[in-house]
Symmetry: C2
Subunit: 504 residues, 2 copies
C-alpha cells in the first residue's frame, strides 16, 4: 500500500505518457513495461518525491523565485556536514597527507598524523591510495577495526579476517541480504525488519525480491522491541516465507531508541529459538544521549550470554557517516561477521571481488575512526575537544527537539535516546486525512509536502518508514545547528497551527 502510494506521481506521469504517446514509448527497448519489476516496487523515502521537490525548491530560490521562506531546511537525511557540522581535524589532516604525500615532509602536520598516514600508505599497493585494495579492505585497517571492536566489547576477541570494509554500511548490509536470495525456491526467504525502519532495508529486500517481515516497535515503550510482537510477526510470516533473518537497528533509525541490555537478551533468545541469522545495524553506536542509556553490541551480548547463544551467526555493521564524524560523503563502513560458515565466507569474498574494492579513502576515514589519537599524542586534545563538542551539541539538540515537538498540540514525541532522529507522532484531523485520500496520498505525505511548500522545512513522512495502521508520523533529524533548529521549530509550529485550523 505504502509503496504503491509513494510512486504515484511517477507512475501517473508514466500512465499519461502511455496513453498520449503510445508509439513513442513502444519504440524503446527498455521501458517501464519490461524493466526489472523490483525496481518499480522498491521505494526509498529518504530520497523520495518530497526530497526531490526540496531540491527543486532550493534551485528555484537560488534563481530568485519568490517563496514564503528564504531557505530550505533539509531535516530529511542524517547528513551532518550538510547541516553545518565541521569535520574532525585529525581525519582531514590524515586524508590530506595520504592523497598528497608531499605534505608529510612539510613539518606542518602533527607527528601522529604523519605516522598514521605513513602507516596507511605502507598498506597501499605502490604506497598510493590510487591502488585497488584487496576486496575485503586494507589489511592494516581490518586489524585496527578488530582491535577497536575488542576494546569496545571489553576484551571479547575479534579476528581481522572476519572484517570486510565497504562503501558505507549500506553496501555491506545489501551484500549480506543478497546471500539469502534464491529465485529457484517458491518460498522466499523472509527478512524480519522493524517498523518503523530505515528504508534501506525495505528497499533492498524489495529490490532483491526477498520477503519483508515487519515487526512493530512499541511506541508506548519508547520504541522498544516486544518479544510477543516478534513472535507474532515471525509466526505469521511462515505462511508466506521461509523466515531466516532478524534485522535490528540499535540505536534506532528513525526512532532514536537505545535498546536496554535486558531487551537485547530477550531478542537474542527469540532469534536463537527460531534459528534466525542476526543482522545488527549498529551505525549509531557513538550516538547515545539519554541518561542511563548505554550502547551494547549484539556481539558482546551473545558472547556474555554464553552457550548456546555465543554460537549464533551474526553480522554487525558500522559506518563513518554517523557518530561524531558524520563523514557521509566518504563512503566508509564495514561488516564484522561472527560464527559465519567458513565456506559461506569464501563465497561472500568472491562475490564482492567483482566490485574490486571499496574506496580506499573511505577505508582510511574508517581507520581514523577506529584508531583515533591516544592520550599523549599531539592530536589528542584537539580531537577529544572536537568530538566532545559534537556529541554534546547533538545531545542538547536531541533534548530540544523532543521538548519542542512534545509541546505542540496534536504532536507527541518520544525521548531521543540515541541516533540522529526524532519520529514524532501527528494527530491529524479527519478532514486532513480525507483531503489526502482524495488526492491519493498518504496523510502524512500530504502533511509533509504542505509543510515543505509553505515553510521550506523538509522532513520525511512516517509512511516512508512504516507505522501502525491509522497512525501518522514524520522523521526529522536533530542535525540542524542550534539557530537553524530554532528557526525550523518556529516554522513548523506556525505551519502546524494553521494546518490544524484549516482542517479542524
Amino acid at each position: 500500500m505504502v509503496a504503491s502510494m509513494r510512486i504515484a506521481p511517477n507512475l501517473l506521469r508514466t500512465c499519461k505518457q502511455l496513453t498520449v504517446l503510445p508509439r513513442m514509448v513502444s519504440t524503446k527497448i527498455l521501458t517501464v513495461d519490461n524493466i526489472n519489476p523490483q525496481v518499480i516496487t522498491m521505494q526509498y523515502a529518504v530520497r523520495g518525491p518530497i526530497v526531490i521537490r526540496a531540491v527543486e525548491l532550493e534551485k528555484e530560490l537560488a534563481k530568485g523565485a519568490s517563496k514564503p521562506f528564504k531557505s530550505v531546511i533539509r531535516a530529511n537525511i542524517g547528513d551532518a556536514h550538510a547541516m553545518g557540522q565541521k569535520p574532525i581535524t585529525f581525519i582531514r589532516q590524515v586524508l590530506a597527507c595520504v592523497t598528497n604525500p608531499s605534505l608529510l615532509e612539510t613539518g606542518k602536520y602533527p607527528a601522529d598524523v604523519v605516522e598514521h598516514a605513513k602507516a596507511l600508505l605502507d598498506g597501499c599497493g605502490g604506497h598510493s591510495t590510487g591502488s585497488y585494495s584487496q576486496s575485503p579492505g586494507i589489511d592494516l585497517i581490518r586489524k585496527h577495526i578488530s582491535e577497536y571492536i575488542t576494546r569496545r566489547d571489553g576484551g571479547i576477541p575479534s579476528d581481522p579476517e572476519n572484517v570486510v570494509l565497504s562503501g558505507g554500511a549500506s553496501e555491506s548490509i545489501r551484500n549480506v541480504l543478497k546471500l539469502f536470495v534464491d529465485h529457484r525456491k517458491s518460498k522466499k526467504v523472509g527478512i524480519m525488519i522493524p517498523i518503523p525502519q530505515y528504508p534501506l532495508y525495505s528497499a533492498s529486500v524489495e529490490e532483491f525480491a526477498l520477503g519483508q517481515v515487519g515487526y512493530y516497535l512499541e511506541e508506548e515503550k519508547n520504541w522498544g522491541l516486544n518479544v510477543t510482537e516478534l513472535e507474532r510477526a515471525y509466526q505469521e510470516s511462515l505462511k508466506k516465507y521461509d523466515t531466516k533473518v532478524l534485522c535490528v537497528i540499535n540505536p534506532g533509525n528513525p526512532t532514536g531508541q537505545v535498546l536496554s541490555r535486558q531487551n537485547m537478551e530477550e531478542v537474542v533468545k527469540f532469534a536463537h529459538k527460531h534459528n534466525l541469522f542476526l543482522m545488527a545495524d549498529e551505525v549509531y553506536q557513538d550516538n547515545i544521549y539519554a541518561e542511563g542509556s548505554k550502547f551494547h553490541s549484539f556481539k558482546k551480548v551473545i558472547n556474555e550470554m554464553g552457550a548456546p547463544y555465543n554460537m549464533m551467526e551474526l553480522a554487525s555493521f558500522h559506518s563513518v557517516s554517523k557518530g561524531y564524524m558524520g563523514e557521509c560523503g566518504m563512503r566508509g563502513g564495514y561488516v564484522e561477521f561472527f560464527n559465519l560458515d567458513p565456506d559461506v565466507y569464501v563465497l561472500y569474498k568472491k562475490m564482492i571481488s567483482a566490485k574490486l574494492c571499496s574506496t580506499v579513502l573511505g577505508q582510511i576515514v574508517m581507520d581514523c575512526v577506529v584508531c583515533p589519537p591516544k592520550p599523549g599524542d599531539p592530536s589528542y586534545d584537539q580531537w577529544l575537544k572536537e568530538k566532545t563538542a559534537v556529541l554534546d551539541s547533538l545531545k542538547e539538540r536531541a533534548r530540544l527537539v523532543k521538548e519542542a515537538y512534545g509541546s505542540i498540540e496534536g504532536v507527541s514525541c518520544n525521548e531521543v535516546q540515541g541516533a540522529m532522529y526524532a519520529f514524532p507522532r501527528l494527530l491529524l484531523p479527519p478532514k486532513a486525512i480525507e483531503k489526502a485520500r482524495s488526492l491519493n496520498q498518504e496523510p502524512d505525505f500530504f502533511y509533509a509536502m504542505q509543510l515543505l511548500e509553505s515553510t521550506g522545512v523538509c522532513i520525511v513522512p512516517g509512511s516512508g518508514f512504516g507505522q501502525k495502521e491509522g497512525t501518522y508520523h514524520f522523521r526529522t533529524t536533530i542535525l540542524p545547528q542550534k539557530d537553524v533548529m530554532k528557526d525550523m521549530l518556529a516554522r513548523f509550529t506556525s505551519f502546524h497551527k494553521k494546518f490544524l485550523e484549516e482542517y479542524k
Copy 2:
C-alpha cells in the same frame, strides 16, 4: 564448464567438510547448501584463486620464506599505481585541498588548483566533501562531464541530466544490467558479451541470473568484431533467451584491440536490426597506442550515422581507474545515457538512491579528469608533462610486451593497440593438457599456477575471460614499470622453456 572448474578448490574443500563434519555444517543457518545459488556460480577470475595464492606468496616472502623468486609481480590487474605509476600532481593537489580546506589559504597551491577545489566545495552540502551528494552526483561535476563528452565527440551535445556518477564504472555497469532482470519471466533476458571478456560482465550476468550470450572476437583479425559471429551468437541465443543487450568493450579488455570506425558502424547496424540496447564500456578511451588507431565513442558514431541509428538506446561508461591517471582506489566513474526512456531513467535514479551516493572524493577525481588544467593555467605544463610521460611509457611497454611474447616459442601475441593488456595465446603440449585435466584444472589455469609458484609472476588464465574451445591464453597487464617488465619477461621466458621441456 569454466565456472565449475575455477571454483573447484573451494567446493572440494566444502565437499570434504560436508563429508567429515556433517553436524557442524548443518547447525549453521546460512550454508553453501542454501546460499544464493548465483553467488556459487558467479566467477571473477581477475581476483580468483591464482591471485589469492599470489597474495599468500607475498605474505610468505615478507615473513622470510625461501622461494625460487624474490618478489611477486602482479600482472593480473589493471592497477597502475600498485605497479609504480605516480599519481598526477594536479589531481592529488585538488584532493588535498578539498579534504583539508585550510590548505586553500596557505598560498602553496597553484591558483587553478585552488579555484578548482573551491568550485567543487561550493557544490558540496555545507561546503564539505563529508556531505552526501545527490544520488546521481554533484551537479557541477555532471556538467563538467557532459562538457568533456561534447568536446571529445566533436560538438555532439551531451546533457548533464543524463550523466550519473558511480563508484567506478563497474557500479554503473552493474546498475544498468540490473534493469533487465525479471525473475517472473521464464525466458531470461540475454546479454551479449564478447569472448574473451572482462569478467565483471560474466560475473554480474551470473549474479543477477541474466542470460550470458557470448560472441567470439576474431583473434586472427586482432580481436575484431565480426558481424557474422554476432549474428550467429544472437540467433542461437534466442532458443534460450530474450536477447536485448549488446555489450562492447572498446578499447578491448583483455584483448587490447581498438575498433575501427567501419567495424563500429557494422556493429551499430547489427544492434539496430535486432533492437539491442547498446552498453559501451569505454573506460580505456585515453589508452590508444597503435599507429592509425583512434578512439571513437559509440555515441559519436551513432549520431554521425544519423537516423534511425541516432535514436538507439545507449549507455556509455567511463572511469578514473584507467587512462593516464590510474586512480583505481578512488572509485570514480560514470554512465552517460542516451535515448533512454525518461520513465526508465526516473526509476534508475530511484533505484540508486537507496545506496545514497557514490564517494564524493571519487567524484572529484572524475572532475579533475574531465576538467583538467587548460593551456595557460599554472598547472597546465606539469599536468601535460605527467600525462604524456605515462601514455608514452604505456605505449612503449605495449610494444615491448607484444615483441617479447611474440618471440617466444609456443606463444603468439596480437598487437596491443590500446587498453592495458596483452592476451597472448599459448600452444600447450598435449602432455601438459593431460596433466591439467588429471588435476581437474583448465590447462591455462594449470600453466598460470605453475608460473606463479615457480617465478612469482601472477597472470590470469584465459579461461577466466573465455576463449575458443581448445585454445589457451593468458592476460597480462602492460603496467609493470620498464625494469620490472624486463624482469617479468625474463622470468616468463625461462619458465616457459622449462615447461615445454617438461611436457614435451
